[in-house]
Amino acid sequence: MPDQGDTGLYVYGIAPSSGPALPEGLRGMDGAAVDLVAHAGLAAVVTPIALPRPPGRRRDLLSHSDVLNAVGGDLDVVPLRFGTVLRDEEDVVEELLEARWESLTEMLDRVTDAVQLNLRASYVEERVLAEVVQGSRQIQALRSRTRQLPEGTPHPDVVQLGRLVSMALDDLRREDSRVLVEAVLPLVRESRVRERGNPDHVLDIALLVDREAVPVVEARLEQVAADVHERIRLQLTGPLAPFDFVDDEPWG
C-alpha cells in the first residue's frame, strides 16, 4: 500500500519513554530532527519523511545507523529493520506501540543497560598459510608438483591443493574461534555468531555487553589481540545499538 504525495513517519527503533532524553540536536533522514512518539512506557524514535520515496539510498542507510547508534549510547533501544515507515503518529501508537506492547517490552528488557560490540577476527593470511603448508606433507607434495604450472591452470592437482588448504584452514578456524569465544563469553550477556564468507575470516561475533562492562571487555580483548597478533587481527566495533539482539521473526 504505497502512498502518494504524502508524508509518513520513519521509525528507527523503540526506546523506553522513561529513559534519558534523546541526544541533543540529533537529526535523522533528510536532516529532520529526531523525535519521540510515546505511549504506555514505550517511545518510538521517529522522523517525518516525504512519500513516495526513492529506493533506500546510501545516506538513508547511514542515517538509520547513525541515529540508532547515537540513541543507543545512553538509551536502551530496540532497532527496527531499515526502511520501516508508518503513516502517522496514530498508526505508530496503535499499530506499533499498542499492538506490540508486550513483545516490545520484552525485547527492551532483554537489552536493558546493554550495548552491542562487534568482534571480528581475521587471519594474517601469509602467516597462516605457511602454518598450513608446514603442517601437512600432502600439501607440501602437491605444492611442489603444481609450482611450475602457470597461474590459473585448473589442473586437478591445483584444485586438490586448494581444497586441502581450504579444509586445513577450516580446522584452524574452528580451533582459533573456540579459543577467542571462550576468552570473551564470560564477560558478555549474550552473543551471536555472524556469518561471513571471506577466506581470511576466523570469527565474526556480535556481543551484547552491559554498558558498564564495556571497558572490561575492551581491556580483555586488547590483551587477547596482543597475544595473537602474529596470526590473527582483532577488530572491535561499537558500542552500537543492539541490532543483533532483537527478535528476527516477522510479526504475523
Binding site: D3, V11, I14, L51, R53, P55, G56, L61, L62, S65, L68, P79, L80, R81, F82, G83, V85, L96, V124, E125, E126, R127, L129, A130, V132, V133, Q134, G135, I139, R143, T146, R147, E151, V158, V159, L161, G162, V165, S166, L169, D171, G197, N198, P199, A219, L221, Q223, A225, A226, H229, E230, R233, Q235, L236, T237, F243, V246, E249, W251, G252
Partner: protein, 144 residues
C-alpha cells in the same frame, strides 16, 4: 605489551583495532537484515527498499576458491625461500592475492545493491589492512 590506557576509538598503540564504521560497506554489514521487522500490512512500503534486504553476504565455496587458495599457497613458496621475488610475492598476496579478490567480490555485490544513486560517495573502501609484519615460523601445526 598492552597499554592500560585504552583508546576508545582508533586503537592508538594497541593491537586491537577500533574502527568507527562509517563507510557504506561497514554500515551494510552492521545493520543489513538486522532489527525488528514490522508486518508489511501495517507499514507503508518504501518503493524498492527491498533491494537492500537482499543478503549481501556471499559464501564462496567453489573450485574458484580452491584455485585462489592454491595460487596463494604457491606464491607463498617464493616468500618462504626468501628469493629476490620476495617483495613481489608479498605484494601479490596483499594486492592481487586470494583474500583481496574474494573480498572484492563481496564488496562488489554490496556496491551493486546501492549503486546508481546520486549521493554515492567514494568512501566505501574496506578498512585498510594493518601494517604487514614479517611472518616467522615460530608456530608449527601438527600433521593432520
Amino acid at each position: 605489551m598492552t597499554s592500560s590506557t585504552l583508546e576508545r576509538r582508533g586503537g592508538g598503540g594497541g593491537y586491537l583495532s577500533r574502527p568507527t564504521p562509517s563507510g557504506l560497506a561497514d554500515v551494510i554489514e552492521t545493520i543489513l537484515d538486522k532489527g525488528l521487522v514490522i508486518d508489511a500490512y501495517v507499514r507503508v512500503s518504501l518503493v524498492g527498499i527491498e533491494l537492500l534486504t537482499i543478503d549481501a553476504r556471499i559464501v564462496i565455496a567453489s573450485v574458484d576458491t580452491y584455485l585462489r587458495f592454491a595460487e596463494a599457497t604457491n606464491r607463498l613458496d617464493l616468500y618462504e625461500q626468501g628469493g629476490k621475488d620476495l617483495g613481489e610475492a608479498i605484494g601479490d598476496l596483499q594486492g592481487g592475492g586470494a583474500a583481496k579478490k574474494v573480498s572484492g567480490a563481496v564488496s562488489g555485490a554490496k556496491k551493486a545493491l546501492t549503486s546508481g544513486r546520486s549521493d554515492d560517495d567514494d568512501d566505501e573502501e574496506e578498512s585498510p589492512r594493518p601494517r604487514k609484519r614479517p611472518a616467522s615460523r615460530r608456530r608449527q601445526t601438527e600433521d593432520a
